[in-house]
């Protein structure tokens, strides 16, 4: 055992440096977004920049506080933190006033706190300390593509694919339950955006082998459900049929054909994202993909012969049934619920939402290469983008600092996230590693959704940009999340 050295030497200054850089760039942009020529004092607490600066200071205090405890302490109190945060959310659900359609704020004196922002931290901590207890690892997950192919074949031949006894309740079910408790609580607060962030834990489960075949099949079912809702039932069914034939037949001899087919779809989706193709193209894209695959089926020799037709027909019947059920279930929903789902899927545009995203893109696009300059953004000054200092803070970067600014911010985040993964992999304790992945994944999902929303790649889901967006709760939450890992990392040599 190595003696504990100076904590200042053991902390990862790259992480802290990037963190501070992001916070500073963030508060500068908040100042610009909230700029009021009549009261232009940066540190004036009447201004959002002043408040954010205060909160950055407070976050540093939180960070230093975390660093001053022993990491074993956090491991032992993690269930308590988890329970406390969950209970505070119950309190919010029961008693809080509604703000912007969500019951998410807890009033403590003059301050308002959003417990959901802390539940990411609490869940990550509790989940990693829970998974950290299973020290001798056995690979429970065989969810590789080949394995699924084998499994499907066995299933359609009437053989047993898996039994319930294959599922390890402690290692596979409990972690999922741990994640779903806060998700349900947040959904009850009507804060779908934050709930979606918990999807980040999927990456952790994948890395740790928590999810098995069942979950892959579950994922496929979700994808199919989305396709069904986005497109016509028949399109969905045809797509599924072609997918089934192709994937199945490719699994027999080579995975390259399957990868090629999936690659085409991904390529189309990437082009759509980059060039901003309109949503009305979705159906054409899907049909295009179906026809390309059909051509492949026809022109590749022997492909058709190698297919076991009984399996295909069985699979298609099953899929048809599933698509039908989804369609029926959707029909039962209330009109306003349908509308919300359609807006989320990008099928329908909310007028105010499309104004917001259009203005957001105008602001970013008009920034050009080097931007219009600090405090010179015409869209920013005119407050054209609603919520610009919170969810749409990236617009300010895009407009005033241009492509150079936006890529700098993205690269800082990339450094942060990759550094987190790299450090996580170096941890000696499983708990620290799992926690590192949790932090990286949560940050990544936030980034993906928030920035994706401002550049019209993602649907509008109101979640903050970590360290950037105006708001104390989210800054405190992210700081705690990050500094806990810095703490773990600084003590990694202490642990066997």
């Amino acid at each position: 055992m190595k003696t504990r050295g100076n904590i200042l030497l053991n902390v990862d200054w790259v992480l802290i440096g990037v963190y501070l850089a992001l916070c500073l760039i963030g508060v500068l942009n908040i100042y610009a977004a909230d700029f009021n020529p009549l009261s232009s004092d940066f540190f004036n607490l009447e201004n959002r920049s002043g408040k954010q600066a205060l909160w950055i200071g407070a976050s540093l205090v939180i960070g230093i506080t975390i660093m001053s405890f022993d990491s074993k302490f956090f491991k032992s109190v993690s269930p308590i933190i988890f329970v406390v945060v969950c209970l505070s959310q119950v309190v919010v659900i029961l008693f809080a006033e509604e703000v912007n359609g969500a019951r998410a704020w807890l009033k403590i004196g003059p301050f308002k706190l959003q417990p959901a922002e802390f539940s990411k931290f609490a869940t990550a901590l509790f989940l990693s300390s829970y998974l950290g207890t299973f020290l001798n690892e056995k690979n429970t997950d065989e969810a590789t593509i080949e394995e699924i192919g084998k499994g499907m074949r066995r299933f359609f031949k009437g053989k047993k694919v898996f039994s319930l006894s294959d599922i390890d309740i402690l290692k596979q079910v409990v972690p999922i339950v741990i994640v779903f408790i806060p998700v349900i609580l947040i959904m009850l607060q009507n804060d779908t955006g934050t709930a979606l962030v918990f999807g980040a834990f999927f990456f952790v489960f994948y890395r740790e082998g928590v999810i098995g075949r069942v979950f892959i099949i579950g994922l496929l079912a979700i994808v199919l459900a989305i396709i069904t809702l986005m497109f016509d039932k028949h399109v969905a069914f045809t797509a599924l049929g072609v997918l089934a034939i192709l994937v199945y037949s490719s699994f027999i001899k080579s995975t390259s054909m399957a990868l090629f087919s999936i690659g085409i779809m991904i390529f189309l989706l990437v082009c759509k994202a980059i060039f901003g193709w309109s949503t009305s193209l979705n159906t054409y894209m899907l049909w295009g993909w179906i026809s390309i695959n059909t051509v492949i089926l026809i022109i590749v020799p022997d492909l058709w012969k190698r297919i076991e037709r009984g399996v295909i027909i069985g699979g298609l019947i099953l899929a048809l049934g599933y698509v039908g059920i989804i369609g029926k279930a959707y029909g039962v929903l209330q009109p306003h619920q349908k509308e919300r789902i359609e807006i989320l899927l990008g099928k329908k545009h909310d007028k105010t939402v499309s104004f917001q995203t259009d203005q957001s893109l105008n602001a970013i696009g008009s920034g050009g290469i080097s931007g219009k300059g600090f405090l010179q953004g015409t869209h920013t000054k005119g407050k054209w983008v609603p919520e610009q200092s919170t969810d749409y803070i990236f617009c300010t970067v895009g407009e005033e600092w241009g492509f150079i600014g936006t890529t700098t911010v993205l690269i800082l985040f990339l450094i942060l996230i990759f550094r987190l993964i790299q450090k996580a992999e170096r941890q000696r304790s499983k708990m620290s590693r799992v926690y590192g992945y949790c932090v990286a994944s949560v940050l990544f999902i936030h980034l993906l959704i928030n920035i994706g929303m401002t550049i019209q790649i993602m649907p509008v889901i109101g979640i903050p940009l970590p360290f950037f967006s105006y708001g104390g709760s989210s800054l405190f939450g992210f700081t705690a999340l990050l500094f806990m890992f810095v703490k773990f990392d600084s003590q990694r040599l202490d642990i066997l």
């Binding site: 690892e137 690979n139 994948y206 890395r207 696009g365 008009s366 895009g398 936006t406 890529t407 990759f418």
Partner: protein, 606 residues
């Protein structure tokens, strides 16, 4: 274990993939499509606000103001804030409630009012005159959402020369399509000098660029005003009109239909151009424009008709001067050529017989000109049809050199040509070889198919005064500081008549006023030798039109003019005294023959 650890690469790959997609998307949006978004951002957040230039003034030849600008007010409503007791508001603006509702409906109709926004003031009442505005100002500002915008409107200190000056009106869709200069709130010249010199008068607009916020409120100047321009006022025009003479002519023409055109022979500058009946140009300004225009346009006397340049009328006997000159020039007659007054050929009045050429001018003997023009056409070969056709062709060349048969090219739009009959026309009317001199003789005395506009009649006076040449008549002599040059060959026109022949005709014209038996004997002016010629333009629909063409003084002429009064009978009775009074006014600046003046003003012919 090893298998699971390799999954970190999947995660790196997946995260990295999304980063690359996002950077590509930003590259596309911020670099490739930059211009598109810059444009879109600009249309949203930058407002171009116009500052209207001041339209140029128009002055008379002595620097007196004919047209200037006056402040008027647009009453604007901001619909979001506008809450009002409809009845009281209507009473204040003197409109009825249905009109009020209609206007609000039109304001809110985006297909009519494209830029409508409930937060931006919209024009409700346009160009309210300042005296009207002053009366309701206090009460108007008690209403919420009411604001005013200053505009300028045309104003005419002396209500004269309405047709010549023209008027301005709101631009229509055609103007907007045809000329990028205009925006929907613009006014443009739509008749007269306002129209002809539109490009000089309108000036250049100033533009201010404002940055506005999401709610349409201006927050600052865009790019600190780097793109802003100040308006450049339109050029002032100095016209050739003499305001006093114009005003006096309009006074004389009250109660009459017709026109007076007076031109300075040495320059072609139009001193006065009177269209009667006329109207107060101040009527076609501002808010009352529409109603007044309708009323004037519907008037049976065709008040808006610019007769001086558009009314084509038989010139009557004033062309006898021209016929005399042609005969002298081609040598078929001389000063002492005489013909008997044979009333069987064509009607005439009683006078001494026979007459020499200047005496024929003095007495306006119709049979004389029947014979003279016959001589011009046949050149002694009477009855020869081929010679008649050649003779008419030859005559036509002379007549056209007097600027007849085509518009003279005055600086107004819509000038008419008049008609010089020719062989082709007679063939068309009567059939080839189915006519002879007896059929067409009426052109010899300025009747029949022959027609002139009043300005051409005045120009005939100019040619006589100048002994054979004229300058294109025009109304503007200076644009801004630039003096226009009319002395060059484009504006100088020489007739085919040799200048030596004019004295003979001038004698006759002088005798018209000064010798006993002259057709305009009552119109003599003490101390000024006027040369003139009366005419009676035959009118198949009613009383004949009274015509008089003159210039004065005989030596070194300063003014040439034509007076045309519809339905006023012979030229000596009405047109000649009016012309004489005009000459007195112009040359002496003061009219002493007040009795004559009064009797002329009081004559009414409609």
């Amino acid at each position: 274990m090893a298998k699971l650890e390799s999954r970190k690469y999947h995660i790196y790959l997946l995260f990295g993939f999304f980063f690359i997609v996002y950077i590509c998307r930003l590259f596309y949006v911020q670099i490739i499509e930059k211009d598109f978004f810059v444009d879109r951002a600009k249309t949203d957040s930058v407002d171009k606000v116009v500052e209207f230039p001041v339209r140029g003034n128009i002055y008379d030849r002595n620097g007196k103001v004919l047209v200037q600008n006056e402040i008027a007010y647009d009453v604007m409503l901001t619909m979001r804030d506008f809450k009002v007791d409809t009845l009281k508001f209507c009473a204040l603006l003197k409109i009825d409630t249905s009109e009020f509702r209609l206007r609000l409906k039109n304001i809110k109709n985006k297909s009519i009012n494209k830029g409508y926004s409930s937060r931006i003031p919209q024009v409700f009442e346009s160009l309210m005159k300042s005296e009207n505005f002053g009366r309701i100002k206090e009460r108007l500002f008690n209403y919420k959402g009411v604001s005013v915008k200053k505009r300028t409107v045309r104003s005419y200190p002396r209500p004269i020369a309405a047709h010549v000056l023209g008027h301005v009106s709101k631009v229509g869709p055609r103007d907007l399509n045809r000329d990028q200069f205009y925006i929907p709130q613009d006014y443009r010249g739509s008749s007269g000098l306002e129209l002809f010199y539109e490009k000089e008068l309108r000036g250049t607009k100033g533009w201010h660029h404002y940055l506005k916020n999401r709610h349409g409120k201006y927050i600052s100047k865009y790019l600190s005003g780097a793109l802003d321009t100040t308006p450049r006022p339109g050029n002032n025009l100095k016209s050739t009109l003499d305001a006093d003479l114009q005003e006096y002519g309009e006074l004389l023409m009250t109660g009459k239909i017709g026109s007076v055109v007076a031109i300075e022979p040495s320059t072609g500058e139009i001193l006065a151009m009177i269209n009667a009946p006329t109207y107060d140009p101040n009527l076609l300004v501002g808010g009352e424009y529409g109603a007044n225009y309708q009323r004037l346009a519907k008037d049976k006397k065709k008040i808006l008709f610019p007769r001086a340049i558009q009314s084509r009328q038989p010139p009557g006997s004033i062309v006898k001067t021209m016929q005399s000159l042609i005969s002298l020039n081609i040598g078929v007659a001389n000063e002492y050529t005489s013909f008997g007054c044979n009333k069987k050929l064509v009607g005439c009045h009683d006078h001494r017989n026979p007459l020499t050429l200047p005496e024929a001018v003095q007495h306006s003997c119709n049979p004389y000109y029947y014979n003279l023009v016959k001589k011009i056409f046949f050149k002694g070969r009477n009855g020869n049809m081929a010679q008649l056709r050649r003779g008419i062709d030859d005559w036509e060349k002379y007549v056209r050199s007097f600027g007849l048969g085509d518009p003279l090219g005055v600086d107004l739009y819509g000038e008419k040509d008049g008609n010089v009959p020719d062989v082709k026309e007679y063939d068309q009317i009567y059939g080839k070889n189915r006519w002879n001199y007896r059929t067409i003789y009426s052109i010899s005395i300025g009747q029949g198919e022959f027609s002139l506009t009043p300005i051409q009649m005045a120009n005939l006076g100019v040619i006589l005064a100048n002994k054979g040449h004229y300058y294109t008549p025009h109304l503007i002599r200076e644009i801004g500081d630039e003096k226009l040059v009319f002395a060059d060959s484009n504006f100088y026109h020489k007739t085919l008549i040799d200048s030596s022949h004019f004295e003979i005709v001038h004698n006759g014209m002088q005798w018209v006023l000064e010798r006993p038996g002259g057709t305009a004997g009552k119109s003599r002016l003490e101390g000024v030798t006027i040369c003139g010629k009366t005419g009676t333009s035959q009118n198949p629909h009613g009383d004949d039109h009274s015509v008089f063409m003159a210039f004065a003084p005989r030596h070194n002429p300063k003014i040439a003019l034509a007076v045309f009064v519809e339905n006023a009978g012979g030229g000596g009775g009405t047109a000649a005294p009016i012309a004489s009074l005009m000459i007195e006014k112009y040359l002496k600046r003061k009219v002493e023959r007040l009795k004559l003046e009064q009797s002329m003003v009081e004559k009414v012919f409609y």
